[in-house]
Assembly symmetry: C2
Homo-oligomer: 200 residues x 2
C-alpha cells in the first residue's frame, strides 16, 4: 500500500482552503489516501518570524487580488472574511477530536468549516460557531462543545503543531508526498506530477 | 498596439531568473513586448519588512529544494550560488545604462547576468564581473565600468526602484499586464491566461 499524503493546513489560510478542495481528488487519481493535519500558523510564525499575509505592506493588498483571481480560476466560492486572519484552535480541535473515531467525517467537517469561513463569512474562531457547523455535519453539539474544552484534545493539537514544526512545516498548505515537501496551493501541479513520476 | 508587459525583477532572485527565461516567449505568443525593469529587493524589503528567503527559518531550507525541483521542471540550468543573496546595484545599473540605447541588447545582457549567477556561480554583485559579462555581450568594458559609477545611472536605478514601490511592487518577479499585477514565477500560467482572455 502506497504511503498516505500528509496535508498540513491552517483553517485561517485561504490557500489551504484551495488545496483542501482539491487534494482528495488528486490523491485518489494516484491511489493514495490523505492524512489531514490542521496546524496553527500563529505558533509556526513564532518560529519563523513570519507575519500574517494581510499585515504585510504592499504584499497584503496584492494577496486580496490574487486570492479572488485564483479562486475564480479554481471554480471555488470565495469572499475574503470580514475578520481575517483568525485564531483556529476551535476548528482544529474539532477536527482532531472527530478524526479519532471517523476520519472521513472529520474531513467533511474540515471542508464545511473552510466553506463557512471563506465562502459564507462565518467566524469559525468561535467555539459556538464551530460546534454549530459540526452539529450540521451530524455531530452532537453538546459533545463537541465539551470536546473543544477537553485538555486531552488541546494537548493533541499542541502535539500536532510541535511535530509539524519539527518536520519543517512553515506555512499552509504544506503537502508531503513520500518525504518530499511542497508548499502552497500553486504547487499542486508539482504534487500531481510527483505522484505520477515518483520525482524528477 | 497592445500595452507592453512590465516585468520587475531583482538579479538576485532565482524565481526572477526563471521568469526572465520565459517571459519573452509568453509575450510574443500574444503579440506583446516586455519592458524589463530590474529593482533592488533590499530597498523594497525596507518598506515591507520582509526578509531574504535564505534567512527565514524552515522556509529558507525548503526554498532550496523548491528551486532545484522547479528549475528541473522548467529545463533551466540552476545551481544555488555560493554567495546568496547578493546586492544587485551593478547588474541593475548595467541594464539601465544599456537599455537607453539598445533595449534588445540590454535584455540579452540581463539574461547573461542571470545565467552567470544562477548557472555558473559568478558573483555578479561585483562591478568587475558585471563589466566582464557585458564585454562578452559586446559592450566596451571601460565604458561599462565608467557607467556603473556614473551618478546619472545611479539616479536612474534609484528612481526606478522608488517608482516600483510606489506602484506596489513587493517581490520578484512581479509582472503587470494591462494594470493587473502577478507575483511569482508560479503565476506565469495566469499571466498567459490573462493575455489570452483579458481577465476572468
Amino acid at each position: 500500500m502506497a504511503n498516505p499524503i500528509d496535508f498540513y493546513f491552517d483553517f485561517s489560510s485561504p490557500y489551504g482552503y484551495f488545496a483542501a478542495s482539491k487534494i482528495e481528488d488528486i490523491a485518489a487519481r494516484h491511489g493514495r489516501t490523505v492524512n489531514w493535519r490542521p496546524i496553527l500558523l500563529g505558533a509556526v510564525f513564532k518560529v519563523t518570524g513570519q507575519q500574517p499575509l494581510p499585515t504585510i505592506p504592499l504584499k497584503g493588498d496584492y494577496s486580496k487580488r490574487d486570492l479572488e483571481r485564483t479562486a475564480k480560476l479554481l471554480n471555488l466560492p470565495f469572499k475574503l472574511p470580514t475578520k481575517f486572519p483568525i485564531s483556529t484552535q476551535s476548528p482544529a480541535r474539532a477536527f482532531y477530536y472527530l478524526n479519532n473515531r471517523d476520519p472521513a467525517l472529520a474531513k467533511r467537517l474540515a471542508l464545511a468549516l473552510y466553506v463557512a469561513y471563506f465562502a459564507d463569512d462565518v467566524d469559525i474562531s468561535s467555539p459556538e460557531n464551530t460546534a454549530d457547523i459540526a452539529a450540521h455535519a451530524g455531530v452532537d453539539k453538546t459533545e463537541m462543545t465539551a470536546a473543544l474544552n477537553d485538555p486531552a484534545v488541546k494537548d493533541r493539537l499542541r502535539h500536532e503543531v510541535d511535530a509539524a514544526v519539527a518536520l519543517g512545516v512553515f506555512g499552509s498548505p504544506y503537502i508531503v508526498v513520500d518525504g518530499e515537501p511542497f508548499w502552497g496551493s500553486d504547487r499542486l501541479d508539482q504534487v500531481e506530477k510527483w505522484l505520477s513520476t515518483g520525482g524528477w
